[in-house]
Symmetry: C2
Subunit: 320 residues, 2 copies
């Protein structure tokens, strides 16, 4: 089975992705794809590797593909943007690569269909190494709405977060099989927020709140104070060990919520009057929003409400 | 050294990529990049792996990075398009990954500067596996010129090719260190052709003429007849072994020119009167253009002038 036959298979699958007006002028199979987009194109890329971001010994390859697109859609969500199309490059093992590639693409295509994203192109390779999936998504701003960035937070803004945090990777014998594989990227919620309210900055929580909130502080040039009692800890974070005191258990769970990473929830900032409206509205149907802190003039760092610095030790790829 | 510090380094480098009017609205460091493009965006992606497309035991990582961008620029060239920006995702070895990542980016940035391409964003990861580089390029059509595709060739069109073919990977003790690492993508030549002449189809020769010309035949729905005496064999293809007859040597060299792959020259089609003008003009200064065949009504396959089928056994990634 040659790469070209694999492209035929992808073509046969992507043909079914009907949109009211298909923005794709030329899809997979030429030297490049052509897509109609607004003058401002928004683009993100994420690369996922077997053994790092997923483990193909433990999970079906469809979930690996799904995740590879989902993390990219989460990036576009964080920009308050609309995803339009995606390009997929794969490194597959020589043996069994065709079946694996199809499963990965099926996982990608199912999520793509849900969010009306078309596959614009790709590149398929085989090698002796483990599977690598790189997805690039292209999107556009929402009508009459500027993209949201990390640099727009202002002193006085409230800090809000969707959903709950921590334990996304799974625990114990289910380690690696958690929410990080099945989460729904907050594309719709981000669009509702950006269309309906004044959002001053936004980020998706991929590395853990302790790391990602620090990006907002740094890029916006202000101190973010968080209230430890308000951080929404996910039910996926296990209860503390019985030998721990209730307070130590609480601290342990809070640390997981702050640093586990791969939550792919949204953290965003809004002026207090707007934030209050968001908190009492029901636009994000089913997705809770929690007020977890405030922005103030000060060093571009993250602190607890009492002034204690928060160490940004969320998950980051270390390069030596 | 965290990924974030690596992004700082990339930011410090990309800041110097000045263009008369910088189309990049938001560069590396947010959840996504923002770029101003014409309504039709042209996008391509290619993934290169250590041990497959380059060998970091033998070559400097700058050349690997350079090649990763160059093959993408070659794809945009084949569309007769103008490259604007690129996104880079990397999988780097945990040990020594920072230095390697910088070298790869330096190779990318040097070529990017030459072609006025800005780095719009990226994703950097580390793992126990070998280095993987995935580059996505975004571009736009040339002014008042539609992108060139593989499907526009018409019966009667002449088939032309730039440069010479074969031996790109290097030979003997220099295997792996050939032209495929240092070639200049034919972006300028493709633009000159697309702006000045009626080009009906175009492709870049990545898998070898025997494979790539067959794509044009297939997508355009016609037979392409090639003249074996006109295929421009590169001086990089070694002379035949002394024990071979001159005719056998010639056949061996022709086979290499047809199937070695990674030439990254352009093959294109034009009506005969236009093709004659291209062949006698000097617009592609320094880059030879050769008339190698014709398109005729018939099965969508590749044949020699005498009607013998040409087997498309160029380099392709085999997936089982």
């Amino acid at each position: 089975m040659s790469e070209w036959q694999f492209i035929d298979w992808i073509r046969s699958k992507t043909g079914s992705l009907g949109k009211p007006v298909d923005p794709v002028v030329l899809g997979p199979g030429d030297d490049a794809g052509i897509v109609r987009l607004t003058p401002e194109t928004i683009a993100a890329v994420d690369m996922l590797m077997d053994g790092v971001h997923f483990d193909l010994k433990k999970i079906p390859a469809t979930l690996a593909g799904r995740k590879a697109l989902a993390v990219n859609l989460s990036d576009l969500a964080a920009m308050g943007a609309r995803p339009v199309c995606a390009l997929v490059s794969l490194a597959l093992p020589t043996k069994g690569g065709r079946a694996l590639g199809e499963q990965i693409m099926e996982g990608i295509l199912e999520l793509a269909k849900e969010f009306e994203v078309t596959i614009l192109g790709g590149d398929t390779n085989s090698w002796a190494g483990r599977t690598v999936i790189s997805v690039t998504v292209l999107g556009e701003p929402l009508p009459d709405r500027a993209p949201l960035t990390r640099s727009g937070a202002r002193p006085g803004d409230w800090v809000l977060v969707t959903g709950s945090l921590g334990g996304s990777l799974g625990q114990g014998k289910n380690l690696g099989r958690g929410r990080h594989l099945t989460f729904t990227p907050r594309v719709r919620e981000a669009a509702q927020l950006n269309m309906g309210y004044e959002i001053t900055s936004m980020i998706d929580l991929s590395d853990g709140l302790a790391t990602d909130a620090a990006h907002i502080a740094r890029e916006s040039g202000l101190t973010i104070f968080l209230n430890p009692d308000r951080i929404p800890v996910s039910p996926d974070v296990p209860k503390g060990s019985p030998e721990l005191s209730p307070e130590a258990s609480k601290q342990q769970r809070l640390k997981q919520a702050m640093t586990d990473g791969e939550d792919f929830e949204l953290m965003f900032t809004s002026p207090p009057d707007i934030a209050r409206k968001i908190l009492t509205s029901s636009i994000l149907s089913g997705v809770p929003v929690t007020h977890i802190g405030e922005c103030r003039v000060g060093d571009p760092v993250l602190k607890w409400q009492d002034g204690t610095p928060i160490k940004a030790d969320g998950y980051q790829h270390q390069l030596d």
